[in-house]
Symmetry: C2
């Protein structure tokens, strides 16, 4: 892992032991797809990060500086760029030091192995309803850690999660869209879940309906895909007892549009 | 802040940038009262930490080693000893590396300023219901951070928090007990909240009732106190519009018992 760390404007060699991201998960992060040393959707990621920082009343580093350091670290490569932003250091106790400079860390990782479609499970781990943080990609992620462990134990690619009331919210690290009666639908995220940048792109591309979905709605859909800014549009092939053996033409069309919008993503393979 | 860090058995100079406590709040911590270089309630803290590690399927460092390092760091002093335990490092992605050695960090802090009684507010920040992690002192603490900010803005000492259904759960960093019709009561923590070591001590001392409490139940109680392992038993003097100007003899008796059980805590002052 290639990594660079900063406190406010200054490069630092290590995370401070009193960092509040470490102590309390008081942090936000972005996971971005880099292509030939560039980050095509940088602005969308920064917009989400900045809105999260505003909701958590966290300071925000200078955007141009973060971008320049990201490009320097990428050095022309393809890969996954992660940016984590924390509240910075502080005295012991939950109330933050509002004057402390933020800590931010950039790291570059290998792209995940490319797959054409995903086998997905239903996770037992439920998402708690907390409207204060709903939609944010914050650092309190114990629910996803437990759910991702379920996915690995099952040998699946991803796992869909419901809230306590049994409504589908998202998969552990992707958002979900289902084609129902000719209409793309995706769960609302007013109470929990992460509003992914790729989800935002899909919503802008298609007149998708943000609505309440039950597991049966997903299982009976004509097509289902997962999406995030690293994997793009990932068709679901299997979910519980349900199968979608062939990629739906609507998913193929979305993948084509994505490849035109972001050069890091390949157009869909030819139909077999 | 005096601090020492370890990865498994080895002392390390810094936290790894891929630490999962930093990435996801995948961590647990204990905040302990040290007295003359000893930690009188070490065993109770370790029992809770170990039970939390089991619930999160996290590895647990050798207890004797942690104790020896804690005493070395304290070096005879009074103070607050914090122990944070994280999952350790791991690849990017939510599923943990189950083989990675745990990271643990010891730090010593000054005791908080001693106060005789607390002015307390009702926080607007609600606690989300998540039975999977209820009771644990884990590192996903954004709710407490927001609530503690409310407390500071109000100039209060502590703030009581409710769950989404409006039941009282705890204060931001303390548990709460209320004397109602001659019976000590404290909220159940099946859905949220931290089961404090001091709360456990009080429950063992008094035949306290674990029950559902509404804000009005607390406000109309004959006496209310907050407690944690650093501050001990802290009488509530003011809460919203309610006042308890004199310390109740039952609280005085508990403080006396505490001073006998743990030499770090003073007996109650003489009644004025």
């Amino acid at each position: 892992m290639t990594v660079r760390m900063f406190l406010g404007h200054d490069a630092v060699p290590a995370i401070a032991p009193d960092d509040r991201g470490l102590a309390y998960g008081e942090s936000l992060f972005e996971t971005m797809r880099a292509h030939r040393g560039a980050v095509p959707w940088w602005d969308a990621h920064m917009a989400r990060l900045q809105s999260g920082a505003a909701r958590l009343a966290m300071p925000f580093p200078e955007g141009a500086r973060m971008h320049a350091e990201a490009l320097k670290l990428l050095d022309g490569a393809d890969g996954v760029l992660k940016l984590q932003l924390t509240r910075g250091g502080g005295v012991r106790g939950y109330a933050p030091d509002m004057e402390a400079p933020p800590f931010w860390m950039l790291s570059v990782h290998a792209l995940p192995q490319k797959i054409d479609a995903a086998d997905v499970i239903w996770c037992q781990t439920r998402l708690a309803a907390q409207p204060l943080f709903a939609g944010l990609k914050h650092g309190n992620r114990l629910e996803q850690v437990l759910a991702a462990t379920e996915v690995r134990v099952a040998g699946a690619v991803e796992g869909l999660m419901c809230d306590a009331a049994g409504h589908v919210i998202a998969a552990t690290s992707t958002n979900v869209f289902a084609l129902i009666d000719g209409q793309w639908c995706t769960p609302g995220l007013d109470d929990c879940g992460v509003a992914g940048v790729m989800r935002g792109w899909v919503l802008a591309q298609r007149d998708a309906k943000v609505t309440m979905l039950k597991p049966a709605d997903i299982e009976q859909a004509d097509a289902v895909f997962l999406c995030n800014a690293v994997r793009g549009i990932l068709p679901v092939r299997r979910l519980g007892t349900q199968r979608w053996p062939r990629m739906h033409p609507e998913i193929r069309a979305l993948q084509s549009a994505l490849a035109q919008s972001h050069p890091g993503f390949d157009p869909p393979r030819e139909a077999s």
